[in-house]
């Protein structure tokens, strides 16, 4: 059974290009594949946008947003979709996780997100394990998740420095260069730091000292890092690499703020269960926080102050907030919209919540030219929703990622269609 709502998608032969509407883009519209989404409520999510553009058309040519305006016309052959006022947003962020890095959560041969070499290897680049053909990619894409942050994990037998990751589109393209380094702090990393969180900053400082003094004479056994590890870390310290610290307790977050200031790191807090308690300090330090708005229980003694209002309180204090589920499983990526909706229910402004799963994470991780907003000249990365984009009852009616219209079918819909037929005929037994 074909469940894709094809009635929404019709080929519409338009007249010649309307002058003025496309202004200086007119020349560029003459060739190549074209798509016109007509009469949408467009959430561009650009920095200056405070409200959606109603009754607006978005024209895509050669994979890029060629025009945004009213009453646009398109050349012959353009695929025209009548949005009938439905919401058009940038593709949604799937959070920090393992899409394409694991097929089955607990099967070791399919999980590549962590190294267990017993050494600190900041140069461990998890993006090399990314499989764009994993079932986990297609299922998420069909659900409107167009980009994610490939995230290495700190595993027992590995290191509190988990390694490098990067944003990636789920359209089959290659991940971006790995410019994000992940560090796990707090009680759940105690077994990676000799039993104490105090040793975590000690180890990080030692690694930084080694990286900054490549000629430091040390016998091999005293070194934390390999030569290539020193090199990679040094590049990060000099350049624009982002350090993501997975940390929850308010006191640990304060130490992280201080550490980042002293070492001049571009720091991001991930988790941040108690971040709301140090919101002013985070705002002053301009450190973004990636929160899980569904997290409100004291899972550990690092998270006693967990609350559903974390995101709202951080935002009210002026902290940059992005949303990711705390869990990194491939099915959690699909819950970022639900998490954003719950953040709204608990006080976060709606537009801020949508930004926290679109533009904001793209900006934090240096991928804003690819993901997170609808802007002329940018690659088309769009989702047309059946309803309110933050509602659990809404689903994508159209997904455009990497400039291409993506199919809404996946392995999940294939299983659904096969077995629904069996149920209908009474043969599901």
């Amino acid at each position: 059974m074909n469940i894709l709502n094809r009635t929404l998608i019709s080929l519409f032969i338009a007249g010649s290009l309307q002058h003025g509407a496309l202004a200086d883009d007119a020349a560029a519209v003459m060739s190549g594949s074209t798509l016109l989404v007509r009469n949408a409520t467009v959430y561009t999510m650009t920095r200056d946008a405070t409200a959606p553009l109603k009754g607006t058309d978005v024209f895509v040519q050669d994979g890029r947003i060629a025009a945004i305006g009213q009453n646009l016309t398109a050349p012959t052959g353009t695929t025209v979709i009548d949005a009938k006022g439905r919401a058009l947003t940038p593709g949604v962020f799937g959070g920090l996780g393992h899409i394409g890095l694991e097929e089955i959560g607990i099967e070791q041969t399919t999980g590549d997100y962590a190294q267990r070499l017993g050494q600190m290897r900041p140069e461990f680049d998890v993006t090399l394990a990314y499989n764009p053909e994993s079932m986990t990619v297609g299922v998420n894409l069909a659900n409107g998740i167009t980009f994610t942050l490939l995230t290495p994990a700190s595993a027992s037998g590995g290191s509190l420095v988990a390694g490098l990751g990067a944003p990636t589109g789920l359209d089959g393209s290659a991940p971006l260069p790995a410019r994000v380094m992940f560090v796990d702090l707090g009680g759940d990393a105690n077994d990676l730091s000799g039993g104490s969180r105090a040793a975590q900053f000690m180890l990080l400082r030692q690694a930084i000292v080694e990286a900054r003094a490549p000629n430091l004479v040390m016998v091999h056994d005293e070194r934390l890092l390999s030569p290539s590890g020193r090199q990679v870390l040094l590049e990060f310290l000099k350049g624009d690499g982002v350090f993501v610290f997975d940390v929850d307790r308010a006191a640990d977050i304060r130490n992280t703020i201080k550490f980042a200031r002293e070492e001049k790191l571009n720091a991001v807090i991930r988790g941040g269960a108690e971040a709301w308690r140090v919101a002013d300090e985070l705002a002053a330090a301009r450190i973004p926080v990636i929160v899980d708005p569904l997290h409100n229980l004291p899972d550990s003694f690092d998270e006693v102050g967990s609350t559903l209002q974390n995101a709202a309180k951080l935002r009210a204090a002026g902290v940059t907030v992005a949303i990711s589920l705390g869990d990194t499983d491939v099915d959690d990526a699909g819950k970022t919209r639900q998490a954003a909706g719950n953040a709204v229910a608990h006080g976060m402004p709606w537009m801020d919540a949508l930004a926290s799963i679109t533009r904001t994470p793209a900006e934090i991780f240096g991928a804003a030219d690819r993901f997170g907003s609808i802007e002329r000249g940018r690659p088309a990365d769009l989702v047309l929703w059946s309803g309110d984009p933050l509602e659990v009852s809404s689903l994508p009616d159209l997904v455009v990622a990497g400039g291409k219209t993506q199919k809404l079918e996946s392995r999940h819909t294939a299983l659904r269609d096969r077995h629904y037929e069996r149920v209908k005929s009474g043969a599901a037994r």
Binding site: G105, Q108, A155, G158, D299, V304
Partner: protein, 484 residues
């Protein structure tokens, strides 16, 4: 970062620190032949009665009339602009133009939606409480493949902050089970979601026990890793059958004893009590309801055959990520499927999980879909989980109404735990477990406003508590300011 899915994933303690946070404590923290209706199960707990009786007493309440609300009855019916009267702890009237008793408290329900209290048939609150420290790992007696002798209620820590969080999500009744490490994990128990110092004062009066059983990967992994049976799925089945054979003999011995005793035979010695077999024999007598953790369609079909072999019935398959492949078989056997909305891919046996699972279970004639949580996070928003299923149904061209979807969280759930004569619908005479929502509960923005348990107001968003209910959170500096 801790996992919200401890009961399934943390079985692999060695895999990653992300998991280790919740699995450091040991191997496991994971995640009809007889046509007798489930509700006939009796709360006879042991051969010697009920040694750990419920001490639950409904809190004092005043009559309450909710007026002019959208009422989802829980049995598939919807009443618009309707009234609900709760009196003496029970549903006293539902309909329009209900007269308020002189002493009634009136709740104006315009724009509000009213549902029965939600029921989660699969929770580990209290047995895997927050904080998830080693000392709190009380949900799996993972020391032998059959531990039918253990009772989850003896592990419940009533101070788990998860209970009050679940209440805020509309949960008034929950079924707390042992984990899934073992073939027979032990007895499960139904509790009322009230603040308490002892579990007995939460224990649902006269509710039948459940027996947690588990298929598939978990038992064979836990024991296979110890070079012990079961290490395979065929080992799982042989393990179950051997236990049922013992249970049949045990039941026969006791029956013979009771018959002789009744006939006046003197100087009889009762058979030696065995707590493990006592549980299994009670299943065979229909007094304990089987709650079977099982993902794959083929394994569920084997379990159904096994239930025929030994003459018991399965109340529900839990998780049942492939229930949609055998919807008709489950419906014909009167077995419910208690499922998630969108968990998939975290283990091989969940690889074929699809978000339409609940829809395809529901679509079979006589199908019984239940939305469950198995999660301290998920239990707070079962309404949203059902809404996800409703959205998937719409995409298939099926219209699932709110009045129908609510049955997955109320009436059907009550049936699974043998309490459909007492809770799960807003019908006259049922317990006064009622939730007032600020709008359609199947919206991500919906919040509970007032929650009644046996007619007593347990939660009121307009009058927030000054302190957490959990002793654990009380006086914690880090928690100050969380309470609004």
């Amino acid at each position: 970062m801790t996992s919200r899915r401890p009961l399934n994933l943390a079985l692999v303690a060695s895999l990653s620190l992300a998991l280790a946070a919740c699995s450091a404590t040991g191997p496991v923290k994971s995640s009809k032949d007889s046509k007798a209706p489930v509700a006939d199960a009796k709360a006879v707990e042991t051969s010697t009665g009920s040694p750990y009786p419920s001490t639950y007493k409904p809190a004092p309440s005043t009559p309450t009339l909710i007026r002019g609300a959208t009422v989802l009855v829980g049995n598939g019916k919807r009443l618009d602009n309707a009234d609900v009267l709760i009196r003496d702890g029970l549903i006293a009237a539902v309909g329009t133009q209900i007269e308020a008793p002189s002493d009634a408290r009136i709740v104006e329900g315009q724009g509000k939606w009213v549902t029965p209290g939600l029921i989660d048939v699969h929770s580990h609150l209290g047995v895997y409480p927050s904080p998830g420290v080693d000392a709190h790992s009380d949900g799996n007696e993972a020391t032998a493949p059959s531990t039918a002798q253990v009772w989850s209620e003896h592990s419940i820590w009533p101070q788990d902050p998860g209970f009050e969080a679940a209440l805020e999500g509309g949960i008034t009744t929950l079924h707390v089970l042992p984990g899934s490490a073992n073939l027979f994990g032990g007895r499960s128990v139904t509790v009322k979601n009230i603040s308490a110092v002892t579990y007995q004062s939460m224990k649902f009066p006269d509710a039948p026990h459940g027996l947690k059983m588990a298929c598939g990967e978990n038992p064979k992994r836990v024991y296979g890793n110890r070079r012990q049976m079961p290490s395979t799925r065929m080992g799982n089945v042989a393990g179950w059958r051997a236990q049922w054979i013992e249970a049949q003999e045990y039941a026969r011995d006791w029956k013979q004893y009771e018959t002789r005793k009744a006939a006046g035979v003197k100087d009889l010695r009762p058979p030696k009590r065995d707590l493990r077999l006592e549980t299994l024999a009670a299943v065979l007598r229909g007094e304990i309801l089987v709650q079977h953790h099982c993902y794959r369609a083929d394994e569920m079909a084997i379990v159904i055959d096994m239930s025929r072999e030994f003459g018991y019935r399965v109340s529900a398959f839990h998780h049942a990520t492939e229930a949609y492949k055998i919807s008709n078989l489950l419906a014909e056997n009167n077995i419910c499927a208690a499922v998630w909305a969108d968990w998939w891919g975290f283990k091989m046996e969940s690889y074929d999980a699809i978000p339409e699972n609940m829809i395809l279970v529901d679509a079979a004639p006589g199908g019984c879909a239940v939305v469950h949580s198995d999660s301290a996070e998920g239990i707070q928003r079962l309404n949203q989980e059902a809404a996800k299923g409703m959205a998937r149904a719409r995409r298939m061209g099926l219209d699932i109404t709110p009045e129908h979807a609510i049955t997955w969280l109320t009436q059907n759930a009550a049936r699974v735990i043998g309490l459909d004569s007492k809770i799960g619908t807003l019908e006259v005479g049922k317990m006064g477990d009622v939730v007032v929502w600020n709008g359609n509960p199947f919206s991500v923005y919906a919040l509970t406003e007032k929650i009644y348990v046996d007619g007593a107001l347990r939660f009121d968003r307009a009058a927030p508590r000054a302190q957490p209910e959990s002793d654990f959170l009380l006086g914690q500096p880090a928690y100050e300011g969380v309470i609004r």
